[in-house]
Amino acid sequence: MVSRVTDDYERMALAGCLAVCEPAFWAGFDRGSAAGFHDYFSQLTDHEPKRAAKFGLKHFCWLCINSKEAEDLKLAEEVMALVPKFLDRPNVLGIGEIGLNKNSRNELRVFEMQIDLAARHHQLILVHTPHLEDKLKGTRLILAALQNDRRIRPEQVIIDHAEEHTVEMILDAGMWAGLTLYPETKCTPARAIDILENYGGERLWLNSACDWGVSDPLAVPKTALEMAKRGHLGDAINQVIFQNPKDFLSQSPKFKALI
């Protein structure tokens, strides 16, 4: 939500949203030093919860260095060293969104180091999969890296931005699959519901994006409306829209205590 105006919090509250889960992500530009990330993590763990609370919304976040800034190994190591001191903050749910962007060797190395960070600190993991033509290959590499670390419990990992060509391999690995709803890229509400109808609702999670590009904070409530248009009943809609993310996130005692 650091990229959104306060009105978006109000609109989300009016649409029935109860909580926001914000991953640490790219700022639209490369930060110049690890100190920039320190300030960003402070913003995510201190300022944004207060901004959301004004509209009755709980604010949670994930911390990491994102894959777009992971090519610089030295910077990545400095940022990863900052993360542990923020993990005890009351709104931090885990490590994320880690993952890959262009599927490079350094991105993969940093991803593996952040898997290790999550395992050592017993954290949930949120994974970003690459965009467009890079998604298939990136998702395969990501799943292999996670499966190579025996400490990782698949049910404590959500692989985000899944689409029709990647969702099955994620679910087969025992992990959660996130369907990110965008007006132009990734999944539209109609396609996300197609995936739900094809694969069932187990371990599937719909999420909206609130980023610097074209995105819609109300994408999840709009998808609930689309499900109703297709004849899905209220209980089924509630299961996918609310109960599924609640089930995954309640593996974090911090989330369970507040929602």
Partner: protein, 88 residues
């Protein structure tokens, strides 16, 4: 939903998008110069819509995807263009 209900809900939207694709291809062909790998990918993806093959969305996404398995040496850029360009 029945097939009739799906058509009632989505036909006009799908028709609109299909005409947009047709107009895009006309626009590309009307323009001078050479095409590139994106247009080649696009035509491969379009072929996945023909006939009665199932899982068309998945097949179209695969047509645009990098099929290789090994990490690249270094990320030269941050963005993705939507189509796979084989390394020469």
């Amino acid at each position: 939903m029945t097939r009739q209900q799906v058509l009632d809900l989505y036909f006009l939207d799908a028709r609109h998008r299909l005409i947009e694709i047709a107009a895009f291809l006309d626009r590309v062909e009307r323009a001078g110069g050479e095409g590139d790998f994106r247009l080649d990918n696009f035509r491969q993806a379009l072929a996945e819509l023909n006939g009665r093959k199932r899982n068309r969305a998945k097949r179209v996404l695969l047509a645009f995807s990098d099929p290789t398995r090994e990490p690249i040496a270094k990320a030269q850029a941050k963005g993705a263009c939507g189509a796979y360009r084989p390394l020469r």
